[in-house]
């Protein structure tokens, strides 16, 4: 009898869960291929959005992606325009002071993209060069720390790569997944550019979903889904689709 009631309750819970699936709004700056970008049909696609969709399915919420400019993405979170940010946000101590993060969902290193014939092989080679990244990203923080180099910030990483391609910059620094996408996979850029080297971080850099400080409800929900898709192989499937096998 007890089992029956439990089953009935469970069924009820599942049905209700489906019918009343909670909407969770994620901000995405979809200018960061292959992590998140807009496809030809104006849909937001990429590794991040697929992970979010899988998490939503596993944790029983309905994810809604909202394309937002990187520039104000953290301000929008603070003012409650969305519940979370799913936009390759690196978990840093500075950011942790103003927001909370979920468990990490990806590890990044900073990749340095240069022209193939630039002869830049190490951080020391960047001295006296003009290097750039997207404003307010960990890539830009790295740029500013490199001694003797001029750091420039762009609105989007794609615009920085375009300037590198046109010879106006010596190097662009970005998350390795993004850097290699431009330098190795992009049809046009890959002919001229290369992923010269990776900068080893002082401590591992992870991407997480950012939520407002103290918003445990959303963070727990996402963590629950993330753990589920890591356990059931869904995460590895998506990873393999975008980056090949580990």
């Amino acid at each position: 009898m007890r089992t029956r009631i439990a089953l009935a309750l469970l069924a009820l819970f599942l049905m209700a869960g489906n019918a009343l699936a909670k909407d969770v709004v994620f901000a995405v700056d979809a200018t960061y291929p292959p992590m998140e970008m807009v496809d030809a049909n104006k849909n937001i696609v990429g590794f991040g959005p697929e992970i979010v969709a899988a998490i939503g399915k596993a944790a029983g919420f309905n994810p809604i992606l909202k394309n937002t400019a990187w520039d104000g993405i953290f301000a929008g979170l603070a003012s409650g325009k969305y519940d979370a940010i799913a936009s390759s946000v690196s978990i840093t101590d500075e950011r942790k002071q103003t927001m909370d993060f979920t468990d990490p969902y990806f590890e990044v290193k900073q990749g340095v993209v240069t022209a193939k014939d630039a002869g830049i092989k190490t951080v020391a080679d960047l001295k006296g060069k003009t290097i750039a990244s997207q404003m307010g990203t960990t890539g830009y923080f790295v740029c500013k720390k490199i001694e003797g180099a001029t750091a420039k910030s762009y609105d989007e990483i794609g615009l920085a790569v375009e300037d590198l391609y046109n010879g106006r910059l010596d190097a662009v620094i970005a998350d390795d997944s993004v850097a290699s996408n431009y330098a190795l996979q992009h049809e046009q850029y890959s002919q001229k550019l290369t992923l010269a080297f990776l900068i080893a971080p002082e401590k591992p850099e992870y991407l997480g979903f950012a939520v407002n400080k103290g918003n445990k409800e959303i963070a727990d929900l996402i963590n629950k889904g993330l753990a589920a898709i890591k356990a059931n192989g869904e995460y590895d499937k998506i990873y393999a689709k975008w980056f090949g096998s580990k």
């Binding site: 520039d71 301000a75 603070a78 950011r95 750039a132 609105d155």
Partner: protein, 268 residues
């Protein structure tokens, strides 16, 4: 009843110098006075009472202000040259020159400045010839070309405003057309042209905040960089807005002073 319709058309002049004080309301507590010293007072107050973060923001901005001025001054110089050429072209009796000048004005006025900036830097940047154009040059070129079209209209109106009798007299004294323009018309037209040019300068300074999209490190970009790293959006943009306000108000005062001097003979 009919008199109403014979009234001279009212000229509504809404430029970016809208805040420029008119001579007749020059008192101690004008709107200008309130805003200008109010803005300075707010900046000082914030920096003194909450040096963290306001003073830190303010310290982050000066090189941006310098770049903003650099872009503005270079662009206005370019736009003056282009404007003079365009204005003369628009008044030219040569139909081809006239058509070229008018087409330039039509094209530029029909495209938003932000699009022009992207176009000159990123679209033309794909062409071999423009590849080495540094962002600052692209920014100045785009702003100068854009404002040159507007400036052309200012020059045209200014030159048009000079009484026909002036050029007739000059011609009858043996000046040719070029000399008439150079020595008789332009020196007089300058007086009409200068105030709107001053307004354009202020408008250009404000629009120069758009060049931050070309990764030119102007005042706006410095503010954005600060905000995107510290997440102090309110504090950063409050400071940026106040600094712009102080600069434009200071300049608008200068323009109005200049206007007063130029109108010395036409005082009420």
């Amino acid at each position: 009843m009919n008199q109403h319709f014979h009234k001279k058309a009212v000229k509504i002049d809404i430029g970016d110098g809208a805040a420029i004080p008119v001579r007749k309301d020059a008192g101690l507590f004008t709107a200008w006075w309130m805003t200008f010293f109010g803005a300075i007072a707010v900046i000082v107050y914030l920096c003194v009472t909450q040096p963290e973060p306001y003073w830190r923001v303010l310290k982050f901005l000066p090189d941006g202000v310098y770049v903003t001025f650099q872009v503005t001054v270079l662009s206005i110089l370019l736009s003056l040259v282009l404007g003079l050429i365009t204005g003369l072209g628009r008044l030219s009796r040569n139909r081809i020159i006239n058509l070229i000048a008018s087409t330039y004005v039509e094209i530029i006025r029909g495209i938003p400045l932000l699009v022009q900036l992207f176009y000159i830097y990123y679209a033309l940047g794909r062409l071999e010839f423009f590849k080495d154009l540094p962002p600052m040059a692209a920014a100045v070129a785009a702003m100068g070309i854009c404002y040159g079209a507007y400036m052309g209209e200012v020059f045209r109106a200014g030159i048009d405003s000079i009484d026909k009798g002036q050029s007739e007299a000059s011609r009858s004294l043996g000046f040719n057309r070029a000399q008439t323009m150079m020595y008789v018309i332009l020196p007089q037209a300058w007086r009409t042209i200068l105030p709107p040019v001053g307004n354009e300068f202020i408008a250009l300074l404000k629009d120069s905040s758009l060049v931050s999209v070309l990764a030119v490190a102007d005042l706006m970009r410095r503010g954005r960089e600060f905000a995107s790293e510290s997440f102090l959006y309110f504090e950063a943009y409050t400071m940026v807005a106040l600094v712009y306000l102080v600069i434009t108000l200071f300049l608008s005062k200068g323009v109005s002073k200049m206007e007063q001097r130029l109108n010395y003979y036409e005082r009420d």
